[in-house]
């Protein structure tokens, strides 16, 4: 990545942040939630590039959110950085264990089995009275390095953190995809045996991707928990995971920015659909999904690519 594009990205990042802060409150809230979800989907896209679709990212999304919620509520830790660190490390440890089992599976079995794990978490949380069962519990306002912005400033703080995370993690993910291990993902999807003959460990490649995806999902969950101020087991329910796959497909796997944009679009579509048609918003979502699958099989990003391909391309 050249210095110039880095500088441009930096400007873009600051612009997004300022724009986010200037937007009306409800829009910046929607934007923050969308970025949280976008991060989860980013992890999902990493897996999808290796041919694996997880219907259970809700597991780590929910774990991250609950770790954040429990820290603020029961341990009175409100520092955003500490919370992020804790939820990511916890989810990564869990992913490292579950991954040992899960990464042996492919295709539909990987999808179903990952869903089973998230449903087990859902069941555990529903049984847990201390954590409020299905009602969940509220999350206290976050602070940063001793600075507590209070209820009004809290959502701006989370927004700023989310923008920062999206940009840094986005760049990291982009670099990762350009690395050997990143390209190995596509090799796994195309042909596992050939890859192993070439000396790559398919298990290791998938395992690493699974753990990265879990970490990203945990961050997404933490952002959502902090900005919405509430967590409940619904976050681990299979429909939540299904939504992530929906967004991933909507954006396409072509670029790291695709999931973020798709998440913003998805959230806007959903809120407008339920405002315009409170009785039939699901149907609108259904038709939108069908339209994307039919006309944009590689996701919305293929539009951008089509647009780009018209111009002569420089070597990267």
């Amino acid at each position: 990545m050249s210095k110039r594009s880095l500088a441009l990205l930096l400007i873009l990042g600051v612009a997004t942040l300022v724009g986010g802060l200037l937007l009306p409150n409800w829009m910046s809230y929607l934007f923050t939630i969308a970025m949280g979800k976008g991060l989860v989907v980013l992890g999902l896209v990493l897996l999808m590039r290796a041919g694996l679709v997880s219907f259970g990212q809700g597991l780590y999304y929910c774990l991250g959110a609950y770790v954040a919620g429990m820290l603020t509520q029961f341990a009175e830790v409100t520092d955003v950085l500490l919370i992020l660190l804790a939820s990511v490390s916890f989810s990564v440890v869990i992913a490292a264990i579950i991954g040992l089992l899960l990464c042996r599976y492919r295709e539909i079995f990987f999808a179903m089995f990952s869903m089973a794990f998230s449903m087990i978490l859902y069941g555990l949380l529903v049984r847990n009275q201390v954590l409020g069962s299905t009602d969940g519990f509220n999350v206290a306002n976050p602070s940063l390095l001793g600075w507590a912005p209070g209820p009004e400033g809290a959502s701006n703080l989370v927004l700023a953190v989310a923008v920062l995370l999206v940009f840094t993690l986005g760049i990291l993910a982009w670099r990762y995809l350009k690395s050997l291990s990143g390209y190995a993902g596509e090799a796994v999807r195309e042909n596992e045996i050939r890859l192993e003959y070439l000396g790559g460990s398919v298990f290791k490649i998938i395992y690493v991707k699974y753990i990265i995806a879990a970490g990203l999902a945990a961050i997404g969950g933490t952002v959502t928990a902090l900005v919405s101020g509430h967590v409940d087991p619904e976050m681990a329910y299979w429909t939540t995971s299904g939504e992530f796959v929906f967004i991933a497909l909507m954006g396409g796997t072509g670029h790291v920015a695709a999931p973020i944009i798709a998440a913003v679009l998805f959230e806007s579509l959903r809120t407008y659909a339920s405002a315009v048609a409170p009785y039939t918003w699901q149907m609108i979502l259904g038709f939108a999904l069908l339209a994307i699958i039919l006309f944009l099989p590689s996701g919305l990003w293929s539009l951008v690519e089509r647009f780009q391909n018209k111009k002569p391309r420089k070597a990267p």
């Binding site: 990545m1 612009a15 829009m27 809230y29 009602d135 009004e152 919405s228 679009l265 407008y272």
Partner: protein, 426 residues
């Protein structure tokens, strides 16, 4: 990379700004956000009756046709314009939609929320946005036990009241009660209901009560064959259930077909919604509650007669407790505004709402808990019986509000376990 990201940002910005709302604010309208279930399993038994009640009561408030002593058109002269929203989708979605209602649609107040999870998540947002919010149906006592709110009110009593009263009722009405069994849905509502019921009974009987089996089938499971067998094998003197909506219907049908309801005493804490549809399957003697003095248990009043007649005429079925809850919330909101006077600020409306006592179609509502933000009402149970084929109730016991609601500032479970001090039951 840079091109694509720039495009990305442009797309995102265009999208977010492009869809901006048109906030036409008219001074002579009172925009009211109404959130109930319009889809999903809770919509039939709860969401739609509540919405119907809202339509009916809002029209009556706007036309000024509510029976005396409620007077005046609209809310201090402003016509209510409802903005409906589907409650389905979980608490995270609802907090986002709440912001949209307030900041995009510019509503003056919000009345809504059936799910307890939503009722726990919404108040902190309502406080942040300084928006008057009336929770109308959800039951969890945690809302005002865990925090104090300024902008949030709940005009319906907590579910603890249902189960404390249920325990009192079976304790007083069933001679030689020794054993109990429970079948409740496996989520907060079911767990809390069963816990309050058993804890109260333990206190009332000095610990002399035995639980034969406690079943927690999944919410909306629909198939209760194995649970019914378990209840038959581990038979008890009374079976407690807090099932609601479709689950009550399924349980009643399956349990009736297998004779469980005829052979056992069963108490349905929220069974009233099943009366209209499945009354013929409920045997004589079934103990029914309506989450307050509603439906068949509503005390006689001009307002109740009006509500029953108009509702039945307009929608074809008599109003059930969710409809009463909604009517109660809307009337409470209007009266708080009326008392504060025309042109009152939100703070003034809040201070007149706090501790308000008013009469809804279900009788007296005292905003006497949660520092004046949480309602307490009486609770009623009765046994179903038939007179010339018509369903009516006998052995009706009315428990005053102070008998079955913990005093202000106490936590329900602690209050029960410490022997319910200060309960006034006569």
């Amino acid at each position: 990379m840079k091109h694509s990201l720039l495009t990305a940002a442009t797309v995102a910005c265009a999208m977010t700004t492009g869809g901006l709302s048109l906030n036409a604010y008219a001074a002579d309208e009172y925009k009211l956000g109404l959130v109930t279930f319009l889809s999903g399993a809770a919509s039939g038994p709860f969401g739609i009756p509540a919405k119907n009640a809202a339509d009916l009561v809002i029209d009556a408030i706007n036309d000024g046709t509510l029976p005396a002593p409620i007077k005046g058109n609209g809310i201090d002269g402003r016509m209510i314009t409802p903005v409906y929203l589907d409650e389905a989708g979980g608490a995270t979605k609802q907090t986002a939609e709440f912001r949209n209602l307030v900041e995009r649609d510019g509503v003056d107040a919000v009345v809504g929320y059936i799910s307890s999870g939503d009722c726990l998540a919404i108040p902190s947002v309502a406080e942040e946005l300084k928006t008057l919010t009336v929770l109308f149906d959800c039951g969890t006592p945690r809302v005002f036990e865990e925090a104090d709110y300024k902008y949030v009110f709940r005009t319906t009593a907590t579910a603890s009241m249902d189960n404390i009263a249920a325990a009192r009722y079976v304790h007083e009405n069933l001679s030689d009660l020794q054993t109990i069994a429970g079948i409740n849905q496996n989520y907060s509502w079911g767990h809390d209901s069963w816990r309050d019921f058993t804890e109260t009974l333990k206190v009332l009987r000095g610990g002399d009560i035995e639980i034969t089996t406690e079943q927690f089938p999944k919410l909306f499971a629909g198939q209760y064959g194995a649970e019914i067998s378990a209840l038959q094998v581990n038979s008890a003197d009374v079976i407690h259930t807090s099932f609601w909506g479709g689950d009550t219907d399924a349980f009643v049908l399956q349990a009736a077909a297998r004779g469980l309801l005829a052979d056992n005493e069963v108490i349905f804490t929220a069974g009233e919604t099943a009366l209209n549809s499945l009354g013929e399957h409920l045997p004589d003697g079934a103990i029914i509650g309506a989450r307050g003095p509603f439906g068949p248990f509503a005390p006689e009043s001009e307002l109740n007669t009006w509500f029953q007649n108009e509702f039945t005429e307009r929608f074809g079925t008599p109003p059930t407790f969710p409809a009463y809850h909604m009517a109660q919330a809307l009337i409470g909101l209007k009266l708080a505004h009326d008392q504060a006077g025309v042109g009152a600020s939100t703070d003034e409306v809040i201070s007149s709402f706090e501790g308000l006592e008013f009469y809804g179609p279900g009788g007296k509502v005292e905003m006497s808990r949660g520092k004046g933000h949480q309602a307490a009402t009486e609770m009623v149970y009765g046994r179903l019986t038939r007179v010339d084929g018509e369903i009516t109730f006998t052995d009706i016991t009315r428990y005053p509000a102070d008998c079955v609601n913990p005093p202000d500032g106490t936590e329900t479970l602690k209050w029960i376990q410490s022997g319910m001090p200060g309960a006034e039951c006569n």
